[in-house]
Each structure stands twice: as structure tokens, then as C-alpha cells.
Symmetry: C2
Subunit: 134 residues, 2 copies
Amino acid sequence: MDVYINLDFESNEPIYTQLMHQIIAGIAKKELKPGDALPSVRSLAADIGINLHTVNKAYQQLKQEGFILIHRQKGVVINPDGVPQADDQYMNNLTSTLHPIIAESICRGLSKEQVLQLTGELYENFTKKEGGDK
Amino acid sequence: MDVYINLDFESNEPIYTQLMHQIIAGIAKKELKPGDALPSVRSLAADIGINLHTVNKAYQQLKQEGFILIHRQKGVVINPDGVPQADDQYMNNLTSTLHPIIAESICRGLSKEQVLQLTGELYENFTKKEGGDK
């Protein structure tokens, strides 16, 4: 796997969601492409020194959301058909997720331009082509 | 309180965070202004038919994040000094929160323009002046 998994054990964010987010970020950056193999639950758990159940929970949820397939024989792969594209349900969920975040940013005095700037930069960080070194 | 609290008991989102988000949304929309009184824990719990502890949990977290003050005598009020404005820690948290959301939106095929459009519309929905009859 080309994705460097970097967990923060001090964070309030559960380890399994950190793991999910890093795999999703890998897909967004195209470091992980459709059909790419991921390590087995057992091997990833051993590599990063976390519980089997934690990796399993992350994989099961990634599977449920269409990011990966788990074959009994072929192992774990990034969804070969690509991640299911945005539908109405996804857009509704995204709106519900962003709603309180935007509300708080307004309470804390951020302008619309500041929010759009940050959002745009985050988007571009995933999609820009990396330069030569790194 | 001028804010209509509308809880979804079928949602996966815990009731106390729903309550927090609606109060934060009320502040963002300026329906709740600095110094405005909120119902007591007991009275809000009775009004919306939820557990005292659920309201208390929401209020305690809102207090901790600077949205409200809880006076033993004066009761619960929206922070009279206004909500603490964005600092470096808030900006870091906001970035960490948005990061996986933007990653997923890219995986699901949303363009940067679509993400910025949605974000901008959400922002404007909080800040636009309501027309005459709601």
C-alpha cells in the first residue's frame, strides 16, 4: 500500500475513523486506485500495532460505504468500479454534516470568503499533482 | 427562546449534539443574541420531552466552548461577550474536521466548484436577512 498510515493516539478521534479517513484521503489523492490491494486485517493491524478489531471495524465501514471490497480469496481491494458517485442521499448527508460546521464558523467570526478559501485549499491539496521530490 | 428546537429521534446523531447544533445555528442566524436567556435545563427537558441529562450534557459542552454561560442565579444565557472568535486552535480543529469531508467529496466525484457552491449556500442561509413573512 502506497499510503502512509499516521495515527494519533492522543486524539479524541477514534482510531478506526482515523484509519478510514486516511484510506479515503489516499483514494482522493489517487495514491490508492481502483483495484489496488490493501493489506489484510491481520497484517495491517500488526504493521501499525493496533487491535485486529479496530482494523476490521474500519474495513467493514469502508466496505459498507463502497470504498473497498473484501474478497474471501482475493483479499481487500479498493473498489475496482470506483467509489459510488454522489447521489441525493450522499448530498443530503453532506449538507447535514456541513451545516453545524458552517454555523459554528459564523459564530466564531469567519467571513464567507475565509470559509470558502479554506475549503478550496483543502480540496486543492488533495487534487494537485505532487512536484518532483517528496 | 426564539429558536424552534426540532429533534430527529430517528437520526444517528445523538440528541445532545442535535440540541447543541440547533442552539449554535440560532446564534449564527442571530435569532439568539449575546445575553439572551435560554430555558433552564429542567424546563427545556420538559418542553421537548427529553432527559434532563441530555440537556445538561448539551449545555455543559456549549458552556465549555464559550457559546453560553450558566449562572447559578441568573440562569442560562448566550455568552454576553459574544462567542470567542476564531483562534489558531479553532482553525486547526476546523481544518481537521473538514479534511475527511472534502476527501470523501472528491472520491464521490464532486468538483471543487460544487463543494464551494454548497458551502457558500449554507453560509448564506445562516446570514441572509429573512424576508417579511418567514
